[in-house]
Protein backbone atom coordinates (compact mmCIF):
# COMPACT_ATOMS: atom_id res chain seq x y z
CA UNK A 1 0.00 0.00 0.00
CA UNK A 2 2.74 2.40 0.98
CA UNK A 3 4.75 1.36 -2.05
CA UNK A 4 1.77 1.94 -4.33
CA UNK A 5 1.24 5.42 -2.97
CA UNK A 6 4.89 6.25 -3.34
CA UNK A 7 4.80 5.13 -6.96
CA UNK A 8 1.63 6.85 -8.11
CA UNK A 9 1.19 9.85 -5.80
CA UNK A 10 3.43 12.17 -7.73
CA UNK A 11 4.26 11.70 -11.38
CA UNK A 12 7.66 12.92 -12.39
CA UNK A 13 8.02 13.26 -16.12
CA UNK A 14 11.52 14.65 -15.83
CA UNK A 15 12.62 11.03 -16.04
CA UNK A 16 11.87 11.25 -19.76
CA UNK A 17 13.92 14.39 -20.22
CA UNK A 18 16.80 12.75 -18.43
CA UNK A 19 16.72 9.59 -20.48
CA UNK A 20 15.47 10.58 -23.95
CA UNK A 21 18.87 10.18 -25.57
CA UNK A 22 19.11 6.63 -24.35
CA UNK A 23 15.49 5.91 -25.27
CA UNK A 24 15.83 7.16 -28.83
CA UNK A 25 19.46 6.72 -29.80
CA UNK A 26 19.78 3.27 -28.29
CA UNK A 27 16.21 1.99 -28.10
CA UNK A 28 14.39 3.53 -31.03
CA UNK A 29 17.45 3.23 -33.29
CA UNK A 30 17.46 -0.50 -32.67
CA UNK A 31 13.69 -0.79 -33.20
CA UNK A 32 13.83 1.08 -36.51
CA UNK A 33 16.88 -0.84 -37.74
CA UNK A 34 15.26 -4.15 -36.93
CA UNK A 35 11.98 -3.07 -38.55
CA UNK A 36 13.66 -1.84 -41.73
CA UNK A 37 15.96 -4.84 -42.19
CA UNK A 38 13.26 -7.38 -41.35
CA UNK A 39 10.81 -5.64 -43.69
CA UNK A 40 13.29 -5.68 -46.58
CA UNK A 41 14.32 -9.27 -45.90
CA UNK A 42 10.72 -10.29 -45.37
CA UNK A 43 9.53 -8.74 -48.64
CA UNK A 44 12.37 -10.32 -50.64
CA UNK A 45 11.90 -13.76 -49.08
CA UNK A 46 8.11 -13.38 -49.14
CA UNK A 47 8.19 -12.55 -52.86
CA UNK A 48 10.26 -15.66 -53.55
CA UNK A 49 7.83 -17.76 -51.52
CA UNK A 50 4.89 -16.24 -53.42
CA UNK A 51 6.63 -17.03 -56.73
CA UNK A 52 7.23 -20.59 -55.56
CA UNK A 53 3.60 -20.91 -54.63
CA UNK A 54 2.40 -19.64 -58.01
CA UNK A 55 5.07 -21.41 -60.04
CA UNK A 56 2.91 -24.37 -61.04
CA UNK A 57 5.97 -26.59 -60.71
CA UNK A 58 5.82 -29.86 -58.79
CA UNK A 59 6.46 -29.82 -55.01
CA UNK A 60 7.49 -26.13 -54.72
CA UNK A 61 3.96 -24.74 -54.25
CA UNK A 62 3.24 -27.27 -51.50
CA UNK A 63 6.49 -26.44 -49.73
CA UNK A 64 5.71 -22.73 -49.87
CA UNK A 65 2.15 -23.26 -48.67
CA UNK A 66 3.28 -25.46 -45.78
CA UNK A 67 5.85 -22.87 -44.73
CA UNK A 68 3.34 -20.03 -44.74
CA UNK A 69 0.70 -21.99 -42.84
CA UNK A 70 3.26 -23.21 -40.32
CA UNK A 71 4.60 -19.73 -39.57
CA UNK A 72 1.14 -18.23 -39.37
CA UNK A 73 0.04 -20.87 -36.86
CA UNK A 74 2.72 -20.03 -34.32
CA UNK A 75 2.73 -17.17 -31.81
CA UNK A 76 5.55 -14.77 -32.62
CA UNK A 77 6.95 -14.87 -29.09
CA UNK A 78 7.34 -18.60 -29.39
CA UNK A 79 9.23 -18.29 -32.66
CA UNK A 80 11.54 -15.67 -31.13
CA UNK A 81 12.28 -17.94 -28.18
CA UNK A 82 12.62 -20.99 -30.33
CA UNK A 83 15.17 -19.37 -32.58
CA UNK A 84 17.17 -17.80 -29.83
CA UNK A 85 17.52 -20.93 -27.75
CA UNK A 86 17.49 -23.67 -30.33
CA UNK A 87 19.30 -22.27 -33.35
CA UNK A 88 22.72 -22.35 -31.62
CA UNK A 89 22.24 -26.08 -31.06
CA UNK A 90 20.96 -26.70 -34.55
CA UNK A 91 23.94 -24.78 -35.91
CA UNK A 92 26.23 -26.86 -33.76
CA UNK A 93 24.64 -30.03 -35.06
CA UNK A 94 24.87 -28.90 -38.68
CA UNK A 95 28.51 -27.84 -38.69
CA UNK A 96 29.46 -30.46 -36.11
CA UNK A 97 31.28 -28.13 -33.74
CA UNK A 98 31.88 -28.93 -30.10
CA UNK A 99 29.95 -26.00 -28.66
CA UNK A 100 26.67 -24.33 -29.55
CA UNK A 101 27.38 -21.64 -32.15
CA UNK A 102 27.03 -18.03 -31.01
CA UNK A 103 24.28 -16.23 -32.91
CA UNK A 104 23.72 -13.14 -30.80
CA UNK A 105 20.43 -11.55 -29.85
CA UNK A 106 20.36 -9.07 -32.75
CA UNK A 107 21.11 -11.58 -35.51
CA UNK A 108 18.74 -14.05 -33.93
CA UNK A 109 15.89 -11.57 -33.75
CA UNK A 110 16.57 -10.31 -37.28
CA UNK A 111 16.48 -13.84 -38.71
CA UNK A 112 13.34 -14.61 -36.73
CA UNK A 113 11.44 -11.54 -37.87
CA UNK A 114 12.56 -11.98 -41.48
CA UNK A 115 11.40 -15.59 -41.58
CA UNK A 116 8.20 -14.85 -39.69
CA UNK A 117 7.19 -11.75 -41.65
CA UNK A 118 8.08 -13.44 -44.94
CA UNK A 119 5.03 -15.66 -44.42
CA UNK A 120 2.75 -12.61 -44.19
CA UNK A 121 4.51 -10.63 -46.93
CA UNK A 122 4.32 -13.66 -49.23
CA UNK A 123 0.53 -13.69 -48.97
CA UNK A 124 0.44 -9.99 -49.85
CA UNK A 125 2.79 -10.46 -52.81
CA UNK A 126 0.81 -13.50 -53.95
CA UNK A 127 -2.33 -11.37 -54.08
CA UNK A 128 -0.33 -8.66 -55.86
CA UNK A 129 1.01 -11.01 -58.52
CA UNK A 130 -2.44 -12.53 -59.05
CA UNK A 131 -3.93 -9.06 -59.47
CA UNK A 132 -1.87 -8.50 -62.64
CA UNK A 133 -3.90 -9.53 -65.71
CA UNK A 134 -2.73 -12.76 -67.37
CA UNK A 135 -2.28 -10.85 -70.61
CA UNK A 136 0.68 -8.97 -69.15
CA UNK A 137 2.80 -12.07 -68.75
CA UNK A 138 1.53 -13.34 -72.12
CA UNK A 139 2.67 -10.09 -73.74
CA UNK A 140 6.03 -10.32 -72.00
CA UNK A 141 6.46 -13.92 -73.15
CA UNK A 142 5.38 -13.06 -76.68
CA UNK A 143 8.15 -10.45 -76.85
CA UNK A 144 10.67 -13.14 -75.92
CA UNK A 145 11.23 -12.22 -72.27
CA UNK A 146 12.15 -15.18 -70.07
CA UNK A 147 10.24 -16.01 -66.88
CA UNK A 148 12.72 -14.13 -64.71
CA UNK A 149 12.88 -11.13 -67.05
CA UNK A 150 9.11 -11.00 -67.16
CA UNK A 151 8.87 -11.22 -63.38
CA UNK A 152 11.63 -8.68 -62.82
CA UNK A 153 10.56 -6.05 -65.34
CA UNK A 154 6.82 -6.51 -65.82
CA UNK A 155 4.97 -8.48 -63.15
CA UNK A 156 6.74 -7.73 -59.86
CA UNK A 157 7.11 -3.96 -60.37
CA UNK A 158 3.36 -3.72 -60.97
CA UNK A 159 2.49 -6.13 -58.16
CA UNK A 160 4.78 -4.27 -55.79
CA UNK A 161 3.27 -0.92 -56.67
CA UNK A 162 -0.26 -2.22 -56.33
CA UNK A 163 0.54 -3.74 -52.96
CA UNK A 164 2.79 -1.02 -51.57
CA UNK A 165 0.15 0.40 -49.19
CA UNK A 166 -0.61 -3.07 -47.81
CA UNK A 167 3.08 -3.90 -47.51
CA UNK A 168 3.68 -0.68 -45.57
CA UNK A 169 0.70 -1.33 -43.32
CA UNK A 170 2.13 -4.76 -42.56
CA UNK A 171 5.47 -3.06 -41.85
CA UNK A 172 3.72 -0.86 -39.28
CA UNK A 173 2.47 -4.02 -37.61
CA UNK A 174 6.02 -5.35 -37.76
CA UNK A 175 7.25 -2.15 -36.11
CA UNK A 176 4.92 -2.82 -33.18
CA UNK A 177 5.79 -6.51 -33.06
CA UNK A 178 9.51 -5.81 -32.72
CA UNK A 179 8.78 -4.82 -29.10
CA UNK A 180 8.49 -8.56 -28.41
CA UNK A 181 12.28 -8.82 -28.48
CA UNK A 182 12.12 -7.76 -24.85
CA UNK A 183 11.94 -11.48 -24.10
CA UNK A 184 15.57 -11.69 -25.24
CA UNK A 185 16.49 -8.74 -22.96
CA UNK A 186 17.33 -6.64 -26.02
CA UNK A 187 17.29 -2.89 -25.62
CA UNK A 188 14.75 -1.88 -28.22
CA UNK A 189 12.60 1.19 -27.57
CA UNK A 190 10.24 -0.59 -25.20
CA UNK A 191 13.14 -2.46 -23.62
CA UNK A 192 14.97 0.82 -22.99
CA UNK A 193 11.87 2.42 -21.52
CA UNK A 194 11.33 -0.60 -19.35
CA UNK A 195 14.89 -0.54 -18.03
CA UNK A 196 14.71 3.16 -17.12
CA UNK A 197 11.30 2.65 -15.57
CA UNK A 198 12.57 -0.04 -13.26
CA UNK A 199 15.85 1.68 -12.44
CA UNK A 200 14.13 4.95 -11.48
CA UNK A 201 10.88 3.46 -10.22
CA UNK A 202 8.88 5.46 -12.79
CA UNK A 203 6.82 2.70 -14.39
CA UNK A 204 3.69 4.69 -15.21
CA UNK A 205 5.49 7.68 -16.71
CA UNK A 206 7.72 5.56 -18.89
CA UNK A 207 5.03 3.18 -20.13
CA UNK A 208 2.65 6.06 -20.85
CA UNK A 209 5.41 7.80 -22.75
CA UNK A 210 6.28 4.62 -24.68
CA UNK A 211 2.63 4.14 -25.60
CA UNK A 212 2.35 7.72 -26.85
CA UNK A 213 5.49 7.37 -28.97
CA UNK A 214 4.31 4.08 -30.53
CA UNK A 215 0.90 5.55 -31.17
CA UNK A 216 2.25 8.75 -32.70
CA UNK A 217 4.64 6.95 -35.04
CA UNK A 218 2.08 4.37 -36.19
CA UNK A 219 -0.67 6.95 -36.60
CA UNK A 220 1.47 9.29 -38.69
CA UNK A 221 2.84 6.38 -40.72
CA UNK A 222 -0.71 5.19 -41.46
CA UNK A 223 -1.69 8.67 -42.63
CA UNK A 224 1.32 8.79 -44.92
CA UNK A 225 0.50 5.36 -46.33
CA UNK A 226 -3.02 6.48 -47.12
CA UNK A 227 -1.71 9.55 -48.89
CA UNK A 228 0.82 7.45 -50.79
CA UNK A 229 -1.92 5.06 -51.84
CA UNK A 230 -3.47 7.74 -54.01
CA UNK A 231 -0.18 8.64 -55.66
CA UNK A 232 1.20 5.22 -56.62
CA UNK A 233 -1.90 3.81 -58.28
CA UNK A 234 -1.11 2.73 -61.85
CA UNK A 235 -3.46 4.17 -64.44
CA UNK A 236 -4.75 1.42 -66.67
Amino acid sequence: MGLGLAMFSNFDFSVILNSWRYLFFDGMAFTLTLTALAAIGGVVLGTLIAMMRLSGLPVLPQVAKAYVNFMRSLPLVLVIFWFYFLVPYIGQWIIGSERPIQVGAFSSSLITFTLFEAAYFSEIMRAGIQSIPKGQSAAASALGLTYWQSMGSIILPQAFRNMLPVLLTQTIVLFQDTSLVYVLSITDFLGAASKIAQRDGRLVEMYVFAAIVYFAICFIASLLVRRLQRRVAIIR
Binding site: P133, G135, Q136, A138, A139, A140, S141, A142, L143, G144, L145, T146, Q149, S153, I154, P157, Q158, R161, I234, I235, R236
Partner: protein, 286 residues
Protein backbone atom coordinates in the same frame (compact mmCIF):
# COMPACT_ATOMS: atom_id res chain seq x y z
CA UNK B 1 -17.43 -14.84 -109.92
CA UNK B 2 -19.62 -17.87 -110.23
CA UNK B 3 -23.20 -17.75 -109.21
CA UNK B 4 -23.65 -18.62 -105.57
CA UNK B 5 -26.26 -18.86 -102.90
CA UNK B 6 -24.77 -15.82 -101.25
CA UNK B 7 -26.00 -12.40 -102.27
CA UNK B 8 -23.16 -10.22 -103.49
CA UNK B 9 -21.73 -8.64 -100.42
CA UNK B 10 -21.61 -4.92 -100.23
CA UNK B 11 -18.26 -3.44 -99.38
CA UNK B 12 -17.80 -3.05 -95.68
CA UNK B 13 -16.82 0.40 -94.54
CA UNK B 14 -13.30 1.12 -95.56
CA UNK B 15 -10.91 1.88 -92.75
CA UNK B 16 -11.26 5.57 -92.17
CA UNK B 17 -8.32 7.90 -92.03
CA UNK B 18 -6.79 8.19 -88.61
CA UNK B 19 -7.57 11.36 -86.76
CA UNK B 20 -4.14 11.64 -85.28
CA UNK B 21 -1.65 12.10 -88.12
CA UNK B 22 -2.23 9.34 -90.62
CA UNK B 23 0.09 6.37 -90.19
CA UNK B 24 2.52 5.61 -92.93
CA UNK B 25 3.34 9.23 -93.53
CA UNK B 26 6.77 9.12 -91.95
CA UNK B 27 9.86 10.14 -93.86
CA UNK B 28 10.27 6.70 -95.39
CA UNK B 29 6.57 6.06 -95.46
CA UNK B 30 6.98 2.47 -94.37
CA UNK B 31 6.60 0.45 -91.22
CA UNK B 32 9.35 -1.95 -92.12
CA UNK B 33 12.50 0.12 -92.20
CA UNK B 34 14.48 -2.96 -93.09
CA UNK B 35 13.70 -6.24 -94.76
CA UNK B 36 12.39 -8.83 -92.32
CA UNK B 37 15.35 -10.97 -91.17
CA UNK B 38 16.34 -13.80 -93.46
CA UNK B 39 14.37 -16.91 -92.68
CA UNK B 40 15.89 -20.30 -92.14
CA UNK B 41 13.82 -22.36 -94.50
CA UNK B 42 12.23 -22.05 -97.85
CA UNK B 43 9.19 -23.93 -96.58
CA UNK B 44 6.10 -22.34 -95.06
CA UNK B 45 6.67 -19.70 -92.39
CA UNK B 46 4.06 -21.28 -90.17
CA UNK B 47 3.05 -24.90 -90.57
CA UNK B 48 0.22 -26.18 -88.42
CA UNK B 49 -0.11 -29.92 -88.75
CA UNK B 50 -2.98 -31.91 -87.28
CA UNK B 51 -3.12 -29.92 -84.04
CA UNK B 52 -5.59 -30.88 -81.33
CA UNK B 53 -5.98 -29.36 -77.90
CA UNK B 54 -8.08 -30.17 -74.88
CA UNK B 55 -8.99 -28.29 -71.71
CA UNK B 56 -9.55 -31.32 -69.51
CA UNK B 57 -12.21 -33.32 -71.33
CA UNK B 58 -13.28 -30.43 -73.51
CA UNK B 59 -11.70 -30.41 -76.93
CA UNK B 60 -11.02 -26.86 -78.14
CA UNK B 61 -9.06 -27.69 -81.29
CA UNK B 62 -9.67 -30.67 -83.53
CA UNK B 63 -7.10 -31.80 -86.10
CA UNK B 64 -6.26 -28.31 -87.36
CA UNK B 65 -3.99 -28.26 -90.38
CA UNK B 66 -2.95 -25.23 -92.36
CA UNK B 67 0.10 -23.21 -93.27
CA UNK B 68 1.15 -19.65 -93.91
CA UNK B 69 3.81 -18.97 -96.51
CA UNK B 70 6.21 -16.06 -96.53
CA UNK B 71 4.56 -12.75 -97.33
CA UNK B 72 1.08 -14.19 -97.06
CA UNK B 73 -1.73 -12.54 -95.11
CA UNK B 74 -4.12 -15.08 -93.65
CA UNK B 75 -7.29 -14.02 -91.89
CA UNK B 76 -8.82 -16.43 -89.39
CA UNK B 77 -12.48 -15.87 -88.67
CA UNK B 78 -15.38 -17.72 -87.12
CA UNK B 79 -17.95 -17.44 -84.38
CA UNK B 80 -16.77 -16.75 -80.85
CA UNK B 81 -15.63 -19.88 -79.05
CA UNK B 82 -14.57 -21.47 -82.32
CA UNK B 83 -10.95 -21.77 -81.18
CA UNK B 84 -9.40 -19.19 -83.49
CA UNK B 85 -7.66 -17.25 -80.70
CA UNK B 86 -6.50 -20.50 -79.15
CA UNK B 87 -5.06 -21.63 -82.46
CA UNK B 88 -3.09 -18.42 -83.00
CA UNK B 89 -1.77 -18.59 -79.44
CA UNK B 90 -0.50 -22.09 -80.11
CA UNK B 91 1.70 -20.70 -82.88
CA UNK B 92 4.01 -18.94 -80.43
CA UNK B 93 3.39 -21.49 -77.69
CA UNK B 94 1.46 -19.18 -75.39
CA UNK B 95 -1.00 -22.07 -75.30
CA UNK B 96 0.24 -25.66 -75.16
CA UNK B 97 -1.39 -28.29 -77.34
CA UNK B 98 -1.53 -32.04 -76.81
CA UNK B 99 -1.43 -33.44 -80.33
CA UNK B 100 0.09 -32.48 -83.64
CA UNK B 101 2.93 -30.26 -84.69
CA UNK B 102 3.50 -26.57 -85.30
CA UNK B 103 6.67 -25.25 -86.88
CA UNK B 104 7.60 -21.60 -87.23
CA UNK B 105 10.35 -20.98 -89.77
CA UNK B 106 11.34 -24.63 -89.48
CA UNK B 107 11.48 -24.68 -85.68
CA UNK B 108 9.10 -26.94 -83.78
CA UNK B 109 7.38 -24.83 -81.11
CA UNK B 110 6.37 -27.77 -78.91
CA UNK B 111 9.85 -29.29 -78.88
CA UNK B 112 11.38 -29.22 -75.40
CA UNK B 113 14.75 -28.35 -76.91
CA UNK B 114 13.40 -25.25 -78.66
CA UNK B 115 14.58 -21.97 -77.17
CA UNK B 116 11.09 -20.52 -76.79
CA UNK B 117 12.03 -16.95 -75.77
CA UNK B 118 14.25 -16.74 -78.84
CA UNK B 119 11.57 -18.12 -81.14
CA UNK B 120 8.91 -15.83 -79.66
CA UNK B 121 11.14 -12.79 -80.07
CA UNK B 122 10.98 -13.43 -83.84
CA UNK B 123 7.18 -13.72 -83.83
CA UNK B 124 5.36 -10.45 -83.20
CA UNK B 125 2.03 -10.64 -81.43
CA UNK B 126 -0.71 -8.07 -81.00
CA UNK B 127 -3.40 -8.75 -78.41
CA UNK B 128 -7.06 -7.90 -78.16
CA UNK B 129 -6.50 -5.85 -75.01
CA UNK B 130 -3.22 -4.27 -76.22
CA UNK B 131 -1.31 -5.42 -73.12
CA UNK B 132 1.03 -2.47 -73.03
CA UNK B 133 2.92 -2.37 -69.76
CA UNK B 134 1.04 0.27 -67.75
CA UNK B 135 3.90 1.06 -65.37
CA UNK B 136 6.29 1.95 -68.21
CA UNK B 137 6.32 4.97 -70.50
CA UNK B 138 5.58 4.45 -74.19
CA UNK B 139 9.31 4.77 -74.90
CA UNK B 140 10.13 2.07 -72.35
CA UNK B 141 7.31 -0.13 -73.63
CA UNK B 142 8.93 0.00 -77.05
CA UNK B 143 12.54 -0.45 -75.98
CA UNK B 144 12.37 -2.90 -73.05
CA UNK B 145 12.31 -6.16 -75.00
CA UNK B 146 14.77 -4.87 -77.59
CA UNK B 147 17.27 -4.32 -74.81
CA UNK B 148 16.53 -7.36 -72.66
CA UNK B 149 15.98 -9.92 -75.42
CA UNK B 150 17.99 -8.64 -78.37
CA UNK B 151 20.67 -6.93 -76.30
CA UNK B 152 20.42 -3.66 -78.21
CA UNK B 153 22.00 -0.66 -76.52
CA UNK B 154 19.56 1.76 -74.86
CA UNK B 155 20.07 4.57 -77.37
CA UNK B 156 19.62 2.29 -80.37
CA UNK B 157 16.51 0.65 -78.91
CA UNK B 158 14.91 3.99 -78.10
CA UNK B 159 15.73 5.41 -81.52
CA UNK B 160 14.19 2.37 -83.19
CA UNK B 161 11.12 2.63 -80.97
CA UNK B 162 10.74 6.32 -81.68
CA UNK B 163 11.08 5.80 -85.44
CA UNK B 164 8.30 3.20 -85.38
CA UNK B 165 6.20 5.41 -83.14
CA UNK B 166 6.50 8.15 -85.73
CA UNK B 167 5.37 5.77 -88.45
CA UNK B 168 2.21 4.90 -86.53
CA UNK B 169 1.64 8.61 -86.03
CA UNK B 170 2.26 8.80 -82.28
CA UNK B 171 5.69 10.35 -81.93
CA UNK B 172 4.33 13.16 -79.76
CA UNK B 173 3.16 10.64 -77.15
CA UNK B 174 6.52 8.97 -76.49
CA UNK B 175 6.85 10.30 -72.94
CA UNK B 176 3.31 9.39 -71.90
CA UNK B 177 2.05 6.29 -70.13
CA UNK B 178 -0.31 3.78 -71.75
CA UNK B 179 -3.21 4.83 -69.52
CA UNK B 180 -3.07 8.30 -71.03
CA UNK B 181 -3.71 7.07 -74.57
CA UNK B 182 -6.93 6.03 -76.27
CA UNK B 183 -7.52 2.39 -77.16
CA UNK B 184 -6.68 2.92 -80.79
CA UNK B 185 -3.48 4.73 -79.90
CA UNK B 186 -2.50 2.00 -77.45
CA UNK B 187 -3.04 -0.67 -80.07
CA UNK B 188 -0.88 1.22 -82.57
CA UNK B 189 1.86 1.42 -79.93
CA UNK B 190 1.45 -2.33 -79.38
CA UNK B 191 1.97 -2.95 -83.09
CA UNK B 192 5.04 -0.72 -83.05
CA UNK B 193 6.33 -2.60 -80.00
CA UNK B 194 6.04 -5.92 -81.83
CA UNK B 195 7.65 -4.50 -84.99
CA UNK B 196 10.59 -3.15 -82.99
CA UNK B 197 11.75 -6.74 -82.55
CA UNK B 198 12.13 -7.17 -86.35
CA UNK B 199 9.74 -10.13 -86.44
CA UNK B 200 9.62 -12.57 -89.34
CA UNK B 201 5.87 -12.96 -88.89
CA UNK B 202 3.11 -11.05 -87.08
CA UNK B 203 0.19 -12.61 -85.22
CA UNK B 204 -2.89 -10.50 -84.50
CA UNK B 205 -5.43 -11.78 -81.99
CA UNK B 206 -8.63 -9.79 -82.55
CA UNK B 207 -6.71 -6.50 -82.62
CA UNK B 208 -9.79 -4.32 -83.06
CA UNK B 209 -12.39 -6.19 -80.99
CA UNK B 210 -11.84 -4.16 -77.83
CA UNK B 211 -11.85 -0.80 -79.60
CA UNK B 212 -14.55 1.81 -79.87
CA UNK B 213 -15.86 1.80 -83.45
CA UNK B 214 -14.31 5.14 -84.33
CA UNK B 215 -10.85 3.83 -83.46
CA UNK B 216 -10.97 0.65 -85.51
CA UNK B 217 -9.95 2.45 -88.67
CA UNK B 218 -6.68 3.89 -87.42
CA UNK B 219 -5.50 0.44 -86.30
CA UNK B 220 -6.60 -1.26 -89.52
CA UNK B 221 -4.74 1.40 -91.51
CA UNK B 222 -1.50 0.38 -89.86
CA UNK B 223 -2.21 -3.27 -90.50
CA UNK B 224 -3.07 -2.66 -94.14
CA UNK B 225 0.17 -0.73 -94.56
CA UNK B 226 2.08 -3.58 -92.94
CA UNK B 227 0.47 -6.15 -95.22
CA UNK B 228 1.29 -4.07 -98.29
CA UNK B 229 4.91 -3.99 -97.24
CA UNK B 230 5.07 -7.75 -97.42
CA UNK B 231 4.85 -8.76 -93.77
CA UNK B 232 3.73 -12.32 -93.19
CA UNK B 233 0.59 -12.03 -91.09
CA UNK B 234 -1.91 -14.30 -89.39
CA UNK B 235 -4.88 -12.25 -88.27
CA UNK B 236 -7.81 -13.35 -86.14
CA UNK B 237 -10.50 -10.78 -86.82
CA UNK B 238 -14.12 -10.12 -87.60
CA UNK B 239 -13.19 -7.21 -89.85
CA UNK B 240 -14.28 -8.62 -93.19
CA UNK B 241 -13.44 -5.29 -94.83
CA UNK B 242 -9.83 -5.85 -93.86
CA UNK B 243 -9.93 -9.46 -95.04
CA UNK B 244 -11.39 -8.41 -98.37
CA UNK B 245 -8.81 -5.69 -98.80
CA UNK B 246 -5.52 -7.36 -97.91
CA UNK B 247 -5.95 -11.05 -97.11
CA UNK B 248 -4.60 -13.69 -99.44
CA UNK B 249 -6.43 -16.50 -97.73
CA UNK B 250 -9.27 -16.81 -95.28
CA UNK B 251 -9.59 -19.60 -92.73
CA UNK B 252 -12.99 -20.18 -91.26
CA UNK B 253 -13.19 -22.03 -87.95
CA UNK B 254 -16.14 -23.43 -86.08
CA UNK B 255 -16.25 -25.59 -82.95
CA UNK B 256 -12.47 -26.03 -82.93
CA UNK B 257 -12.22 -27.20 -86.50
CA UNK B 258 -10.91 -25.53 -89.62
CA UNK B 259 -14.04 -25.73 -91.72
CA UNK B 260 -12.86 -23.71 -94.67
CA UNK B 261 -9.41 -22.69 -95.83
CA UNK B 262 -9.68 -20.88 -99.12
CA UNK B 263 -8.32 -18.08 -101.26
CA UNK B 264 -10.00 -14.79 -100.45
CA UNK B 265 -11.97 -14.55 -103.70
CA UNK B 266 -13.21 -18.07 -103.32
CA UNK B 267 -14.17 -17.57 -99.68
CA UNK B 268 -16.14 -14.41 -100.22
CA UNK B 269 -17.48 -15.53 -103.57
CA UNK B 270 -18.69 -19.01 -102.88
CA UNK B 271 -17.92 -20.52 -99.52
CA UNK B 272 -18.31 -24.26 -99.80
CA UNK B 273 -19.50 -25.03 -96.30
CA UNK B 274 -22.92 -24.16 -95.03
CA UNK B 275 -21.50 -22.96 -91.72
CA UNK B 276 -19.27 -20.44 -93.43
CA UNK B 277 -22.17 -19.23 -95.54
CA UNK B 278 -24.30 -18.72 -92.46
CA UNK B 279 -21.48 -16.93 -90.68
CA UNK B 280 -20.80 -14.65 -93.61
CA UNK B 281 -24.43 -13.76 -94.14
CA UNK B 282 -24.76 -12.92 -90.44
CA UNK B 283 -21.64 -10.83 -90.22
CA UNK B 284 -22.15 -9.00 -93.50
CA UNK B 285 -25.90 -8.49 -93.38
CA UNK B 286 -25.70 -5.30 -91.35
Amino acid sequence: MTSSAMPPVSPVSEPQAATDAAPGTGPVGTLLTERPPVTATTGPMIAIDDVSKWYGDFQVLTNCTTSVTKGEVVVVCGPSGSGKSTLIKCVNALEPFQKGQITVDGTRVADKKTNLPKLRSRVGMVFQHFELFPHLSITDNLSLAQRKVLGRPKAEAEAKGLALLERVGLKAHAHKFPGQLSGGQQQRVAIARALAMNPIVMLFDEPTSALDPEMVGEVLDVMVELAREGMTMMVVTHEMGFARKVANRVIFMDKGEIVEDAQKEEFFGSPRSERAQTFLSRILSH
